[in-house]
Assembly symmetry: C2
Homo-oligomer: 135 residues x 2
């Protein structure tokens, strides 16, 4: 489980972990049922307080990405499950609502917004193809 922390970019450590685990799961590098490193082990590896890892794992659990079994460990959940899907939709909906509010303030129509979305999507797709690295 490859996780890297940058302590000088302003992004909270627990969030960096959340995002990277999400990525690893989405990319299939962490599969359903697989166990994450125990809180203390990962904390030691990253030279970080165990509570910080605990918080990251808690958020991942709330997002439906992992499941914790009290004295056994933390495991990747089955992402295809209806609950996981509903959770993901909920998170995206919140972001979308923010975007719509902002667009409303700026008097940008839904059609223009979708155009802009598709435009940004292709831009990002193209830049991905050129890169060797992922996030």
């Amino acid at each position: 489980m490859q996780i890297h922390i940058n302590t000088s970019d302003g992004v909270p450590i627990y969030l960096q972990i959340v995002n990277q685990v999400k990525y690893l799961v989405a990319a299939g590098r962490l599969k359903a049922g697989e166990e994450l490193l125990p809180i203390r082990t990962l904390a030691e590896k990253l030279v970080v307080n165990p509570n910080t890892i605990a918080r990251a794992y808690r958020e991942l659990e709330i997002s439906g990405i992992v499941e914790k079994r009290r004295t056994s460990g933390t495991y990747v959940t089955d992402q295809g499950s209806p609950l996981a899907r509903r959770e993901r939709t909920k998170i995206l909906s919140d972001r979308i609502d923010q975007l719509l509010a902002e667009a409303g303030h700026m008097d940008v129509s839904i059609e223009d917004l979708i155009k802009l979305l598709q435009q940004r999507f292709s831009v990002i797709q193209n830049s991905r193809l050129k890169d060797a690295d992922d996030v």
Copy 2:
């Protein structure tokens, strides 16, 4: 210029002002060239520190919504101008990029994302129709 502050909802005062001015401009209640209340005047009206208003106005200037003339006042810019339009597009693009990153992590396709966007749009539209109040 009707602006109301809620000091107990967690949203920073300067942000409330930014959003409400954006709304007033988008709704046409503040027109291009019109002068905003001077920093001190609005601060007194809202019982808030002038620095807080200054910050709101600064952010509005960065967003291209208003323009400040050092010893004369703060004025609404021409929103139809290419510069204002480019600024708005830039702000929305940033939000969209965040959304796309999140969707990518969650393995949600661009098509599903657009569907979700349209869905949220109608939900919000419908709830707007029922309300008497605006933001």
